[in-house]
Symmetry: C2
Subunit: 385 residues, 2 copies
C-alpha cells in the first residue's frame, strides 16, 4: 500500500524544496494538477449564475443529481458514443474518485476480485481495498496495452470487474479498438463460462485529452456489461471542484438495481450529491474542452527533447503524462537523484511498475524547459547516449 503515497510524497517533498530554494527554482512535474485554467465558457457561466442567482440553487437535490444536468451529460455522451444514453443511466458524482468508490462499494462483496493493469493510478488499490475487494494486478505489454493472455488466466468466478483507464495515467497510452474488441470477447467468454457478470469499468478521466487527431476508442463499444467513471477535472480543468459522473451502459443487465445501488451509496458514503453549483455550471459546458493543442505541443517538445538525450520513451497518445524507462534500474534512486537537480517526478513503483518514472507535463512551458538541464545532466552522468 506504501506505493500509493508516492505521488503525494514527491509533492510534499517538492513543497519543502520550494520553500528552501524558491518556487521558481524547482521544476515540479510530480502532480497531475493542470496549470491550464478552465475555459472562458466556464467563467462566463459562473459569472452569469453569480449575477442572476436562482432561488434554491444551493439546496439538496435528488442524490443522483439534477435531472437537467444528467440529461445534458446523457445527450453529449450519446452524441460522442452513438450509444443512446438517457438521464436514467447518469449519476452525478464527486469527481471520478467519488464515482469509483461508489461503484466499487455497490458491486463488491467481501473477497470479490477486481482486475487492474500495471502501470495503474495507485489510488485504485485503495478504492478496491476500502470496500473489502481484492485487487488483482496484471501486466501490460511494451506499448502499455493490457496483456490479455494474463487476463484469460486470471479471471475466475470471483472476478467482479475489470478496470481500464484509457488514456492511461501514468503511461499516456490509448487502448486500441482491436485490443478492446479482443478484451470484450474474452470477458463474454468468461461470463459464459462462469455464469457471472464481469463489469468493465472504464475510467475515462482523460478521454478528451487525446492527440494526433486520434478518435477515442470507447471501451463501452465492446462490452455491454460496462460503465464509465469520469470527471471534469481535466477537460474543464476543475480538479479542485470534484465534479464528475457515472454512466452505465443502457444494455447492462440489472441496470436499474445497479443505478439504485449507486444512488444509495452516493448518499450513505457521505458524498450525498455532487456540488449543486458545479452541476448548474457543467450542465451548459458538456461540449466544451480545454485546449488540447496546448497539451500536444508540450508533449511533442518534451518527447523530442527526452528521446534526443537518449531516454527510452513510448510516445503517449493522450493524457498529460509521459512514462519513460528509468535509466537506472532502481527508479526510486533515479528519481531521488533527479530531485537533487530540482526536477520532481514520480518513480514507476508508485504505479506498480518499477523501472520507469512518470513525468506530469501539465505545467508551464517554462517549467518544462527549465527541467531539461536536469534531465540532460542525468543522461550524461549515466551515459545514455
Amino acid at each position: 500500500m506504501a506505493e500509493g503515497s508516492w505521488i503525494r510524497r514527491m509533492f510534499e517533498e517538492g513543497a519543502e524544496l520550494k520553500k528552501r530554494y524558491g518556487e521558481e527554482n524547482v521544476f515540479d512535474l510530480s502532480l497531475g494538477n493542470p496549470i491550464i485554467e478552465p475555459p472562458a465558457e466556464f467563467f462566463r457561466e459562473l459569472k452569469k449564475l453569480a449575477e442572476h442567482p436562482q432561488s434554491g440553487m444551493h439546496r439538496y437535490m435528488s442524490n443522483a443529481g439534477y435531472a437537467e444536468t444528467r440529461a445534458a451529460v446523457a445527450e453529449q455522451l450519446s452524441l460522442e458514443t452513438g450509444i443512446k444514453f438517457t438521464l436514467n443511466e447518469i449519476i452525478m458524482t464527486c469527481g471520478a474518485a467519488g464515482a469509483l468508490n461508489v461503484v466499487l462499494k455497490t458491486i463488491l462483496n467481501q473477497g470479490d476480485e477486481v482486475i487492474i493493469f500495471a502501470p495503474y493510478f495507485a489510488e485504485y488499490v485503495h478504492y478496491i481495498d476500502n470496500h473489502y475487494g481484492v485487487a488483482r494486478i496484471l501486466p501490460t505489454d511494451e506499448q502499455f496495452a493490457p496483456r490479455l493472455d494474463a487476463l484469460e488466466e486470471t479471471i475466475n468466478k470471483k472476478t467482479r470487474a475489470v478496470m481500464v483507464n484509457s488514456p492511461n495515467n501514468p503511461s499516456g497510452a490509448v487502448y486500441s479498438e482491436e485490443k478492446l474488441c479482443e478484451l470484450g470477447e474474452l470477458l463474454r467468454k468468461k461470463e459464459a463460462q462462469y455464469g457471472t457478470q464481469i463489469l468493465l469499468i472504464s475510467d475515462e478521466a482523460y478521454r478528451k485529452l487525446i492527440y494526433d487527431n486520434l478518435q477515442y476508442p470507447f471501451p463501452l463499444h465492446h462490452h455491454t456489461q460496462s460503465l464509465i467513471t469520469t470527471s471534469h477535472s481535466k477537460d474543464l480543468a476543475l480538479p479542485g471542484e470534484r465534479i464528475g459522473y457515472i454512466a452505465i451502459h443502457p444494455e447492462c443487465r440489472e441496470r436499474e438495481e445497479l443505478v439504485n445501488g449507486f444512488i444509495h451509496v452516493n448518499r450513505t458514503l457521505g458524498f450525498v450529491n455532487a456540488s449543486a453549483l458545479m452541476q448548474h455550471l457543467v450542465r451548459n459546458l458538456q461540449s466544451v474542452n480545454v485546449s488540447v493543442a496546448e497539451y500536444q505541443q508540450k508533449r511533442d517538445s518534451l518527447y523530442e527533447n527526452l528521446t534526443g538525450m537518449g531516454y527510452s520513451v513510448t510516445k503517449p497518445q493522450g493524457a498529460f503524462y509521459m512514462f519513460p524507462k528509468s535509466p537506472l534500474e532502481d527508479d526510486v534512486k533515479f528519481v531521488r537523484e533527479l530531485q537533487q537537480l530540482k526536477v520532481l517526478t514520480v518513480p514507476g513503483q508508485g504505479f506498480g511498475t518499477p523501472g520507469y518514472f512518470r513525468i506530469a507535463y501539465c505545467v508551464e512551458d517554462r517549467a518544462l524547459e527549465d527541467s531539461l538541464p536536469g534531465f540532460r545532466q542525468m543522461a550524461e552522468k549515466i551515459g545514455l547516449v
Copy 2:
C-alpha cells in the same frame, strides 16, 4: 437498515403526490432542506470571485484544504469555544456526512463499537456499517437527553467512540452543560478502566441554530478526546454544496496520527478535497449565519398550534425539527394517514424511535400554515383533546 430510508422514502412519495395534486397542494415537512436562502454575504463573495477569478482557484490543493480556509475556521472556532484551535486541527470536508465517514473509516477496526443515542439521524448507522463498525444504540430520557445509566452499562473495551448530535436531528434537543459534564466524567472513568481512548464525536451540523438566546454547550468542553464534525449546510444554507469540516480537540491524544489518517482517508475514500470554490467562499463567512429569528418564529408558531390541538411535543431548543409523540401507537400508520391529507412527515421509526414522528419546519410559512388543517383533522379524528 430499512429504517434508514424513511426520510428519502417519504420525500420520494411526496414527489409523486406533488405530481398528482400540484406542488402547492402538498405540504412537505419531510426533509431538512432549508427553504431559507444563503445570506447576502455569500452571494456577495460569489459575485466577487466570479468577477475577479484568481489564477489557479479551481486546481487541487492539499487534501486537508486551503491553509487560509482552515486558519479562518480555526480562528472562529477558537473565538466561540475558547479552545485554542490552529489550522493543524482543521480538515475541510465534503459536508458533515463526508466528515463522519472520514473519521469513522480512520478510527474503526472491524468490530469496533460506536455508541449513538435514539432518536438519531438514521444515516449514522450506514456510516458506521460502511467501515465495518458495530452501532450500539442507546435510549434517551423524556427530554431526549442521553441516558447515562445505559451508557455506563454499555461501554466496554471495544467501544471506540460515542457520537452526540446537539442540537439534535430529529428531536431539536440541545444537550445541557450538566449532562455533558456527567458524560465527560463517565467517558474518562471508562477510559481509565479499560486503558482505551473513547472518542467523543460531536456532530454539530445545527450548532448555529439555537433559540431563546441559549448559549451553546460545547461537548468538547467536557472531554479532550473529542472532535467536531459539521458543515455549512444549515448556518449558510448550502446543503447542496457539501462544504464542512472536522475539528479535532487540540489536546486529543495521538492528534497528529489521527489528523494524518483523516487527510489520507479524505483522499482515498474519493472525496479528495472539499470543493475549492466553496473553500474560497466560506473562508470569509465564518462569522455569518442565516436568520435564526426566522426559524425561531416558525418553531414558536408550530409548537403553539400543535400543543393547542392536543399533540404532545417536547419544545425543541435548536435545529429546525420537531419530534412530537405519535397520537397513534403505530407511527407509520399515523404518518400514512397524515400523508393522505397531503401533509408529509417522517415516522419516528426512521430515527430508531417508534411512537414519534418528525416535522421539518425549515419550509415557507405558508406551507406550515397550510399543513395545520391536516394536523387538526387527525387530532380530531383520534380525539386528542
